[in-house]
């Protein structure tokens, strides 16, 4: 069992007033708060270990390099990658997807197809639009069923020999839908295509085993996992990453440079040009250890209880319309209230100290699909409680009265 009260004491930010009310933070799908161990790790790095990595022969450079690489090994273990060179550090999930999409510009040609889905975040749409614009390939979109599940039959129809890559989210940030990722991967591999999985919403809530699920690429962000901002991961199978052209050129990513010919470095450095977010990467290890110590299955269990409780309590509100009622959902509830604009609800809830997300959640095609201007989204983390849901529900009712 998880002791939420004890966990809350480890998050200094949570203990503050917003608009003279105790903060209720329900915007975890956008970014989670940071435990003291992560803040301490950042602080410790800048106070004691700061130096550039992978180049200096001096003590501090070695120390920083060792710690940086230590996080790579921890990430490898966390998602069960085969080799640590398959773990690439990026700025975030968006950056990871762009890295792959950029590489595919020269790997694809006219007649090739990329498949994404209707539930994707803009960061898993726009890089592929840019990719097909340049490569001449075609972008296909898997539609959603009314309940927010993917239309698997339609996906099977879209798949063909022309399909070169499928890029799809593990868990939807706007609907909470958990996609049947193993099934999607198996279907993709059947036609000989590769698959990239946007795991930004999944890694904070579910166990991810890239070898077992047989993912080709898997992307996620540290800041949604109680870690620092500006750190992301791209996992890729070694053979695929070796075939993928480098994204950015610069220092660190080269073996030899001359004006006639430059030889790129081996993995993972080939994709890590320039000085990375060293402090952030090192502190990310503290966040991963924090999650591992609690047990991801315990975190998921706690959050499932919150989703269930929130859904029950919201159901009582008159005019409630849930957006996305997929069979399997994680860590968030997305809804509207009849006659009210999500923006108005968000403003009034903020006045009552409740931080929720309103709007299109950077997933405009989904909003179009459901014909709504946006939704109100409550998304949960390990430190949230049922009492906070009660406060939020009371605030929603008050907002409803004010706006009626």
């Amino acid at each position: 069992m998880i002791d939420v009260d004890k966990i809350r004491t480890q998050f200094p930010l949570l203990h503050q007033k917003v608009n003279s009310k105790d903060l209720v933070y329900f915007d975890n799908a956008a970014s989670t708060q940071k435990p003291q161990v992560v803040i301490d790790a950042l602080n410790h790095y800048y106070s004691n270990d700061n130096a550039n990595i992978h180049r200096g022969v001096h003590y501090l450079s070695q120390l920083a390099t060792d710690k940086f690489e230590d996080t790579r090994n921890t990430v490898q273990g966390f998602i069960n990658a085969k080799n640590s060179c398959e773990i690439i550090f990026t700025k975030g999930t968006t950056d990871s997807i762009n890295l792959v999409a950029n590489g595919y510009r020269s790997l694809l040609k006219k007649g090739d197809e990329i498949i994404i889905s209707e539930m994707e975040h803009h960061s898993n749409i726009v890089p592929w639009q840019m990719c097909v614009d340049i490569s001449g390939a075609t972008l296909k979109v898997i539609p959603l069923l009314d309940n927010g599940d993917l239309d698997i039959a339609a996906f099977e129809d879209l798949l063909s020999k022309k399909t070169k890559l499928v890029s799809i989210t593990h868990i939807s940030n706007a609907l909470g839908t958990i996609n049947p990722i193993e099934e999607l991967i198996a279907l993709t591999h059947k036609v000989g295509a590769k698959i990239l999985i946007d795991g930004a919403q999944a890694t904070p809530h579910t166990l991810v085993n890239v070898q077992e699920m047989n993912a080709d690429y898997y992307c996620f962000s540290a800041h949604k996992m109680y870690g620092p901002t500006g750190v992301g991961i791209l996992y890729g199978k070694e053979t695929l990453l070796n075939e993928l052209p480098p994204y950015q050129g610069g220092g660190e990513m080269i073996k030899e440079v001359s004006f006639e010919k430059t030889i790129y470095a081996d993995l993972p450095h080939k994709f890590e040009a320039g000085t990375p977010n060293i402090a952030g990467v090192i502190a990310f290890k503290a966040a991963l250890d924090f999650i591992t110590n609690l047990g991801i299955e315990n975190i998921a269990k706690h959050e499932d209880q919150l989703v269930q409780y929130a859904t029950e309590q919201l159901s009582i509100i008159s005019g409630i319309q849930f957006i996305g009622e997929a069979k399997k959902r994680a860590a968030l509830v997305s809804f509207n209230i009849e006659g009210l604009h999500p923006y108005d609800i968000g403003i009034l809830l903020d006045k009552m100290g409740v931080a929720i997300r309103t709007g299109h959640h950077c997933a405009q095609p989904i909003m179009e699909r459901y014909n709504v201007p946006g939704t109100v989204r409550m998304s949960f983390g390990i430190y949230n409680t049922k009492e906070e849901i009660d406060i939020c529900i009371t605030a929603i009712k008050k907002a409803q009265t004010m706006l009626a």
Partner: protein, 139 residues
């Protein structure tokens, strides 16, 4: 014609009567509900100021150097604030609108409504209102 500064002072005085945020927002919501703002034929895409979350339509007319604004929004709080902006800037001389200092927004505690993250189209609306006035003035 009341000056822009005089109208702003009135609004600041009205908002001073409210002791807490609730009163203030109830008043804004009231303004948003009661004001018929824009002729339906002007609620078109060309007049749409796209914000991230709430949408604002702005229609502008001019007559002998006097500019009239009508507007609408799909969110009620945005609509209320739009109503306040129109009360201040509509039916004024183009030259006055172009140089208007809108410090009252801060004074009535609505500065947050104009912050970047709100992305409610209001920042762009003010910009559009002033640009139109400036453009007309320079004709």
């Amino acid at each position: 014609m009341e000056t822009i500064a005089a109208i702003q002072a009135e609004i600041v005085e009205e908002f001073d009567m409210f002791e807490d945020w609730m009163g203030k927002y109830e008043y804004i919501i009231e303004l948003g509900k009661t004001l018929p703002m824009i002729d339906k034929k002007y609620k078109i895409d060309e007049n749409l100021i796209k914000g991230c979350q709430s949408r604002v339509w702005l229609h502008t007319q001019h007559n002998n150097g006097i500019i009239t604004y009508t507007a609408d929004s799909d969110a009620i709080i945005t609509k209320g604030i739009v109503a306040i902006l129109i009360r201040v800037l509509s039916n004024q001389k183009a030259g006055e609108i172009a140089i208007a200092n809108l410090a009252f927004i801060d004074e009535i505690g609505l500065k947050e409504q104009l912050s970047q993250t709100r992305a409610n189209g209001l920042v762009f609306m003010i910009k559009e209102m002033k640009l139109y006035a400036l453009g007309y003035q320079n004709k």
